[in-house]
């Protein structure tokens, strides 16, 4: 897709638009050819406002050569487009302050303002609530009806089947085949991975032991000093998986970082099997038997320049047998790395290869391998399978369950509802820094979806879907 959009140059082959072969050397060629793209990794300038981001590249300007920006006009355009397609965005908000779901919409608005006739969406739904996803699918339908063609890239089989007219499966840069939308999910998955996969993680019932992680009245601020976690109480018991569902940007990140001692706690306490750990150094917390898979692997999880082996000991390098307070023992580091690479089926040229050259899935496996290869009381996993291929997802899921059955308490944070539902024993839905409810995993998607959107139903959080539904304000106005 990057090639099609002019970000990468093809080694060979040609691109044909409306029957005419075109050469696309840069995105501007693509735009001229009527191609628009919503990138998997957002292409928004974080410190700019929504309007600035949308107008960037084709700014309305006065004063001729001076190029004096006409922000008022750009703003009108944003409002106009977003209302026409029902994409609610706040034109003057600064992008880095917006929840990912909203940034997603900004991306689409951005593409639409350059009236395109082919729109590429690369995994747009990864960060949306089921409702938001449905909305998006509707938007896509309206676009389709208004005569635009859409390429919709996703890992989520339900969605393809729901919207696509034709499904093409690509693996490792090759087209594996094309299928009609009515193909079964199992078959599609098999095509994607090259072998049949079990989509449902099969797990026995959990045998919760005594509480391991206890969070009480936790209040945490984000970088900009705004409340991100507004009084969270939760408890994870040994041998159970507590899943935290919620749209990104509702405080999950801050919650986890506070638990890990990476972020100052404003109020409240965090206790690990009875011992308060609030304000302790991350090192101590990790040492106390906590495993942590951070949300963003390339920023917080790995040192890309380091070898796989080094990354596998990133948080225990100074412990025997890898080192003592002073010295490092490269031999034993490499040795155990080889072992780990086998156990966790990391696909890498060698233990000495730089982690940066591995694929997303395999990078993720390196982190999981690191965190799971020491005795754990608590395992905290944030978005453990984001941007990871189905094969790796399956593997990681099984390891998590295995860890749970070994008696570890697991705190799983994910914006993929399917993932939470298939792994968790209890699901806590988080919205605007609060836990709205804790529900069993078999609760219907729609209901959890509503909770994720801030709609609390009924009296007790056990959301039996009767009872009046009071709506909460829109997430992005947060």
């Amino acid at each position: 897709m990057n090639v099609l959009y002019g970000l990468l140059q093809p080694d060979e082959g040609e691109i044909i638009v409306d029957g005419v072969p075109v050469t696309i050397r840069s995105p501007r060629d693509a735009i001229n050819a009527g191609i628009g793209m919503v990138h998997q990794h957002f292409m928004l300038v974080p410190v700019f406002t929504v309007t600035d981001n949308v107008m960037l590249g084709h700014e309305p300007a006065r004063g001729g050569p001076l190029g004096w920006l006409d922000r008022r006009r750009a703003r009108r355009e944003v409002v106009e487009i977003s209302s026409r397609y029902g994409l609610r965005v706040e034109p003057d908000a600064v992008v880095e302050d917006l929840p990912v779901g909203v940034q997603q919409r900004v991306e689409i608005v951005k593409a639409l303002t350059r009236e395109v006739n082919l729109l590429i969406l690369d995994e747009p739904t990864a960060v949306l609530t089921p409702q938001e996803t449905d909305e998006l699918l509707n938007v896509m339908r309206t676009l389709k009806d208004s005569g635009k063609s859409i390429v919709f890239i996703t890992h989520k089989l339900k969605e393809v089947k729901a919207i696509a007219d034709r499904i093409t499966v690509i693996r490792r840069g090759r087209v594996v085949g094309t299928a009609p939308p009515d193909t079964s999910e199992e078959d599609l998955a098999a095509m994607m991975v090259g072998r049949s996969v079990i989509l449902q993680v099969e797990k026995g019932p959990s045998r919760p032991g005594e509480p391991v992680l206890q969070v009480a009245g936790l209040v945490v601020n984000d970088e900009r000093g705004q409340r991100a976690v507004a009084g969270v109480d939760l408890e994870v018991r040994a041998g159970e998986v507590l899943g935290i569902a919620g749209v990104q940007g509702n405080g999950q990140t801050e919650l986890v970082e506070a638990i890990m001692g990476l972020r100052p706690v404003v109020a409240g306490t965090v206790a690990l099997s009875g011992v308060p750990i609030t304000g302790r150094r991350t090192k101590d917390i990790l040492r106390a038997g906590v495993g942590y898979v951070p949300e963003d692997r390339s920023v917080d999880g790995l040192v890309k320049e380091f070898t796989v082996a080094e990354n596998l000991v990133l948080d225990i390098y100074d412990r025997p047998p890898y080192g003592n307070g002073l010295l490092l023992r490269p031999e034993s580091i490499v040795a155990s790395a080889k072992e780990r690479i086998g156990q966790f089926d990391v696909r890498t040229p060698s233990a000495e290869a730089a982690v940066g050259t591995l694929s997303g899935g395999n990078q993720q496996k390196v982190i999981v391998a690191r965190e799971m290869s020491r005795p754990l009381k608590l395992f905290v996993a944030a978005q453990p399978t984001r941007g990871v291929d189905v094969g790796s997802i399956e593997f990681i899921h099984n390891r998590v369950i295995h860890e749970r059955d070994a008696g570890t308490a697991v705190l799983l944070v994910s914006s993929e509802l399917d993932e939470v539902q298939s792994l968790a024993d209890r699901i806590a839905v988080m919205y605007r820094g609060k836990i709205l409810a804790v529900v069993p995993p078999d609760t219907p998607r729609e209901e959890i979806g509503l909770l994720m959107a801030g709609v609390t139903a009924g009296v007790d959080g056990r959301g039996t879907s009767d009872g009046k539904v009071e709506a909460a304000p829109e997430p992005e106005s947060a």
Binding site: L7, Q9, P27, M55, G57, G279, A288
Partner: protein, 422 residues
């Protein structure tokens, strides 16, 4: 492996909440204020300190009893500190810190000037002149770094600019041609910086530092081979004229400082304004910042990332070149080996100190110029502090300011990162 047990956690360190940033600041200012009252106040002779509104002793003056002033302003600084300390006025953090600093400095001045006089026009003009090359250099830095190219080569651009001005100016016997030569000089280094860091992806810091050395070597070499052999022919550039703006020049203090001076000052001030609004309000600025913050995003909307960077780096070269002209066409009448002696690095510091914003960098440069001029004033009027320590003033002051007030600064996200498609 992990032999750690929960036991090493039982000793709980509770989270410290009292000493917030503004409380700390408050404490510092309270202490400073008290010091000023006690120490400066005690040492200051009870004679009047005259701050004349002219270039010398003549004319009207603001007068205050030195001792009184020292104590008074010290007290105000302390008050500001207490305000913060009690957390009563934390909303005014910025303003109060500003007030505290100003009053502390004033208290110090009252002590030093007591029984003497300080000509404000001369002080202001001197500060501005010492700041002038720093301002231009910092603006060059802003232009480069906002588009994502680190510019450590300001020093080299100064040097080539100064050399170009001296050589061309002398040969053409015309100050304006000299200025032209300066622009070219700066442009050459800028172009090299662009080629190396944009085209050949050389680490930008490496490129910058090496270009400084190259400029030093080249100018030094040519100086020996050319200028030294016949100064009259190659190294006596005419000076830039002084432009007096009628009317405005009459304004007390400000007038003579800002409106009766050399063209470079006007250029510098204009650039600060232009770049400030240019960055925030024009298409050029929006795209420049986009390229400096998130080049890929800029690329995906059809902005020529490398082109933008090239243009900005070259323009920056011109600006820094003009800064170089200051050395040979304003401050002095001839080029000299390594005559910029590190000004480019100070400009770099001012840029960072000013958080990569035109106005901030301008302020930082002025701050440095003032501290420098103040040191000169104190040693000239017979301060008892050894000259070496007086001359440390600007540097130490900068460190304190950066550590105490500015703190963490955030460079443009893509600053220093070469851009490769894909």
């Amino acid at each position: 492996m992990s032999t750690a047990t929960v036991d090493d956690l039982t000793a709980v360190a509770e989270v410290r909440k009292f000493w917030t940033r503004d409380r700390k600041a408050g404490l510092v200012f309270t202490v400073l204020g008290v010091v000023a009252m006690g120490w400066f106040g005690a040492l200051a002779p009870a004679e009047t300190a005259r701050f004349t509104l002219s270039e010398d002793a003549s004319g009207a003056a603001l007068e205050i009893n030195g001792q009184l002033g020292a104590v008074l302003f010290g007290a105000i600084a302390a008050a500001a500190g207490v305000g913060l300390l009690t957390g009563a006025a934390r909303r005014w953090l910025g303003q109060l810190m500003g007030l505290g600093i100003v009053c502390f400095v004033l208290s110090f001045l009252c002590w030093q000037v007591a029984g003497k006089f300080m000509p404000l026009v001369d002080t202001a003009a001197g500060s501005l002149e010492l700041a002038l090359p720093l301002i231009l250099g910092a603006m060059a830095g802003v232009l480069c770094e906002r588009s994502g190219v680190v510019n450590v080569a300001i020093e080299g651009q100064f040097l080539m600019g100064a050399f170009g001005a001296a050589l061309v100016g002398t040969l053409a016997a015309n100050a304006w041609f000299g200025l032209l030569g300066a622009l070219v000089g700066g442009l050459i280094i800028a172009a090299l910086l662009a080629v190396l860091s944009i085209r050949y992806l050389v680490d930008q810091v490496v490129a910058g530092i090496v270009l400084n050395l190259l400029a030093l070597g080249l100018t030094g070499f040519l100086y020996e081979r050319l200028m030294q052999t016949d100064a009259a022919k190659y190294n006596e550039p005419p000076q830039l004229p002084t432009w007096r703006i009628p009317g405005l020049a009459e304004i007390p203090v400000l007038g003579p400082v800002v409106f009766d001076t050399n063209p470079l000052v006007y250029l510098a001030l204009a650039l600060v304004v232009i770049i400030h609004f240019g960055l925030s309000r024009t298409r050029w600025g929006l795209r420049t910042r986009a390229v400096g913050e998130h080049p890929t995003a800029a690329d995906t909307v059809g902005i020529r990332v490398l082109g933008t960077r090239w243009r900005n780096v070259l323009v920056a070269g011109l600006v820094a070149g003009a800064g170089g002209a200051y050395f040979t066409e304003v401050a002095t009448g001839s080029f000299n080996k390594n005559m910029t002696s590190g000004a480019g690095f100070i400009a770099l510091a001012a840029l960072i100190f000013g958080r990569w914003t035109p106005v901030g960098a301008f302020g930082a440069a002025l701050f440095f110029g003032f501290a420098n001029k103040l040191a000169t004033y104190l040693s000239a009027t017979g301060s008892s502090v050894p000259s070496q320590f007086l001359n440390m003033l600007p540097y130490v002051a900068t460190i304190i300011a950066v550590a105490g007030l500015v703190g963490r600064v955030r460079a443009p996200a893509a600053d220093g990162k070469p851009y490769v498609k894909g």
